[in-house]
């Protein structure tokens, strides 16, 4: 084994170890998360947003993309959302505002919370948000005076776009397409020489 191969194997070990470590940390994080479910209103020390609010946002990402999220999916998306919030303070407020409006919409439809809504209710809320037209004259005028209109504008113009990006890059999106590996997971470049898996 030459030096380069040795370094390569070491790097792979490092990556595998890193992956295992990350899974362990995720598991620990989930355990801790479950313990905090009842304390959902407590503000997360790291990001300044409640865990409930983040889970609501994750549930919204699923509904926005027409996916029923498994526990694995929730973990993956929550991890990515947390990471984004850890370095972008401006996005914390965007997510908190979105979560608040989602809960309001849910209550208006008879639900206890957005996450507790059934599929039809969630679809209705997603439709309500996605049909906000931030370019309309009414929106332009109203958002000068109304915080609610300003929130809608920001949600539709910015937050949706950011959340869509997070989803698009996630393992959830790629797994739904039949991929077993996606950007960020190492493998063998020679796999480009053969067809991949079909869409499930």
């Amino acid at each position: 084994m030459d030096e380069n191969q040795s370094k390569l194997l070491s790097r792979r070990r490092l990556i595998v170890a890193g992956g295992v470590g990350a899974m362990a940390l995720t598991a620990l994080g989930l355990g801790s998360l479950r313990a905090r479910q009842s304390l959902g209103q407590i503000t997360d020390a790291v990001s300044g947003i409640t865990v409930d609010a983040k889970l609501t946002v994750v549930a919204f990402i699923g509904a926005l993309n027409g996916r029923e999220l498994s526990q694995w999916d929730v973990t993956d998306l929550l991890d990515r959302l947390n990471y984004r919030l850890s370095y972008d303070a401006g996005f914390i407020d965007e997510c908190a505002v979105l979560a608040q409006h989602l809960e309001n919409f849910a209550r208006a439809r008879g639900g206890a919370s957005f996450r507790a809504c059934n599929e039809a209710q969630k679809d209705s809320i997603v439709h309500r948000i996605m049909t906000i037209d931030p370019t309309s004259l009414a929106s332009k005028v109203l958002r000068r005076f109304s915080k609610g209109e300003h929130d809608y504008y920001r949600i539709r113009w910015s937050t949706i776009y950011q959340l869509s990006w997070i989803y698009k890059q996630s393992g959830v999106a790629w797994r739904a397409r039949g991929y077993t590996r996606w950007a960020g997971i190492p493998g063998n470049w020679r796999e480009i020489l053969a067809p991949g898996a079909p869409y499930p």
Binding site: D2, N4, Q5, K7, L8, R11, R12, I15, G18, A63, L64, N65, G66, R67, R80, L81, Y83, R84, Y87, D88, D123, V126, H127, M130, Y161, Q162, S164, W165, I166, Y167, K168, Q169, A173, W174, A176, R177, Y179, R181, W182, A183, G184, I185, P186, G187, N188, W189, E191, I192, L193, A194, P195, G196, P198, Y199
Partner: protein, 524 residues
């Protein structure tokens, strides 16, 4: 003021050009001061870098978060010239390694005809040096960067093989092969400065599909050469330090370079020779700020980019697998020259890119279950082609100083005005027509060409200090020496008289190695 040490070479910029030059000079026993406006990234943390990239809407401040608004501000009148903003800070990185930190690793040589565009095609200008003069340095650059390539008769002649085997055509590329053959289009696998096998202490490609960050380190970036220079003990690296002025003496020689760190420590760095390799924009700006080399009002002019023209559509019955590795491997130079070459400039075809149906949420008004259905029906069935187009040198396309806006040191910021001429617009229109024909031949019936946007550019900054034997037509001579000075040199994309339609990094590396030879030879 501090810093009485005198160096053999003072280099401004620790990117591709400056990094290679510093490594070569120190290898030959010379002392070097290397000045870098940005910082040094922690490469042990590339996975975090990747995660940041993946969660940040692809926004540039997050991929390599170098930007300090007070240092990196600029103004831009490109919207008045070309209709879109030029997002300068997205197209560069300040830091050890420079913009090579976020490049895709594609390497191409300019074609021999690119060096004689005026003579052959009646447009642009000729370089004062020929392809043959640069060819040995292209070979050396291949080996310095660790290029993985396969020689092909479409490509310019070469005198030495690649250091690493090339990446073969992917299964996606092969969908296009019969179409290309039917139309007589010669294609070739692209060369990459990405290791196809372990090379120079770096891993082989581990297919992270995230080349802009490259967590494995398989893709070359110039920080490797900076580290090599530092490792000799002969290179002092000044990071987070901005070169503010070049001091010339009465005889036209540089006496010193005045620098200032982000925490406002001022220094004067002195050497035998001085090389400005601060990327195309900042190299021109430093010369303008210092009133160097601008006796014929050439500094900052002829700023060129490569505008990408792209089109695509659905290809029924064929399946692509986008996103698996992150790069595509097939290109063609068949339209680089051609019968109409005196009417338009060079065009390079790049196959193939894919759209993502999830991006079309707003365009098609689909979300929820409808979006999931749309994704299932469309993902992997859409294909596109891009054309990298050559921009002609144009004095009105320029970088100048904006005295109304100042940076953190009180110096005027760069003002961008990227402008197209008639030939550029004809070239882009021809590229659009070529792609429509190719897509139709392939069976695409709903081809759509993407409009020019702020994201259509290749981040290839060229011109502004162009090379010419005539001091009235250029800023540097054939050896990259600034006209009218004795020991001041500029190297990088800024000295390109014309830009061709290929990625410029290998040419930048080759010019840097050639300058190293020149400096060390003349010094001897």
């Amino acid at each position: 003021m501090s810093g009485a040490k005198r160096y053999d070479l003072v280099i401004v910029g620790a990117g591709m050009a400056g990094g290679l030059l510093a490594a070569e000079a120190t290898r030959r026993g010379r002392t070097v001061a290397l000045i870098e406006a940005g910082g040094r990234f922690d490469f042990s943390n590339r996975m975090a870098q990747l995660k940041r990239d993946q969660t940040s809407s692809g926004a540039w401040p997050y991929q390599w978060p170098y930007e300090i608004p007070e240092r990196d501000r600029f103004t831009d009148s490109s919207p008045q010239s070309i209709g879109v903003k030029y997002l300068l800070n997205m197209h560069r990185v300040k830091g050890v390694g420079g913009t090579s930190l976020h490049w895709g690793g594609r390497v191409n040589r300019l074609l021999p005809g690119d060096f004689r565009a005026a003579s052959l095609y009646g447009m642009g200008t000729d370089w004062p040096i020929s392809y043959d003069e640069l060819e040995p340095y292209y070979c050396r650059a291949d080996w310095e960067l660790g290029v993985s390539g396969t020689h092909n008769s479409s490509l310019p002649p070469r005198s030495r093989d690649y250091p690493n085997p090339g990446f073969p055509l992917s299964v996606d590329d092969r969908v296009w092969l019969p179409v290309a053959q039917r139309l007589g289009i010669a294609v070739y696998p692209i060369s990459f400065a990405i290791n196809s096998r372990p090379y120079a202490g770096r891993s082989q490609c581990l297919a992270f599909a995230a080349c802009a960050v490259c967590p494995s380190g398989a893709r070359f970036s110039a920080d490797a050469h900076v580290a090599r220079a530092e490792g000799t003990g002969l290179c002092d690296l000044y990071i987070n330090t901005v070169a503010r002025r070049i001091d010339l003496n009465a005889s036209g020689s540089v006496r010193a370079i005045q620098v200032e760190s982000l925490d406002n420590e001022q220094r004067e760095l002195q050497g035998t020779n001085y090389v400005i390799a601060a990327h195309t924009i900042e190299s021109a700006r430093l010369l303008l700020l210092s009133n160097c080399g601008n006796h014929s009002d050439q500094v900052g002019r002829n700023f060129m980019e490569h505008a990408y023209v792209s089109a695509g559509g659905h290809l029924p019955g064929r399946r692509f697998y986008p996103g698996r590795v992150g790069y595509e491997v097939m290109e063609s130079l068949s339209y680089y020259q051609g019968d109409d070459r005196r009417e338009r400039a060079g065009i390079k075809l790049e196959f193939t890119f894919a759209n993502d149906p999830l991006d079309e949420m707003d365009q098609h008004g689909v979300w929820g279950k409808a979006l999931a259905r749309y994704d299932r029906e469309n993902f992997g069935h859409w294909t596109g082609i891009s054309c990298e187009t050559e921009q002609q040198p144009n004095p009105g396309s320029r970088v100048s100083l904006d005295p109304t806006v100042r940076d953190m040191f009180g110096d005027p910021v760069p003002h961008m005005n990227l402008a197209f001429g008639e030939i550029d617009r004809r070239t882009q229109a021809r590229a659009g027509a070529i792609m429509q024909q190719l897509l139709w031949e392939a069976g695409v019936r709903d081809a759509v060409q993407q409009p020019l946007s702020s994201y259509s550019f290749a981040s290839h900054h060229l011109g502004t200090c162009r090379m010419s034997d005539d001091p009235d037509q250029g800023v540097v001579d054939r050896n990259c020496r600034v006209h009218g000075t004795g020991n001041l040199f500029v190297v990088g994309g800024s000295v390109f008289p014309t830009g061709g339609a290929v990625q410029p990094s290998l040419t930048i590396a080759a010019l840097s190695l050639r300058l190293a030879d020149h400096l060390l030879r003349t010094e001897a």
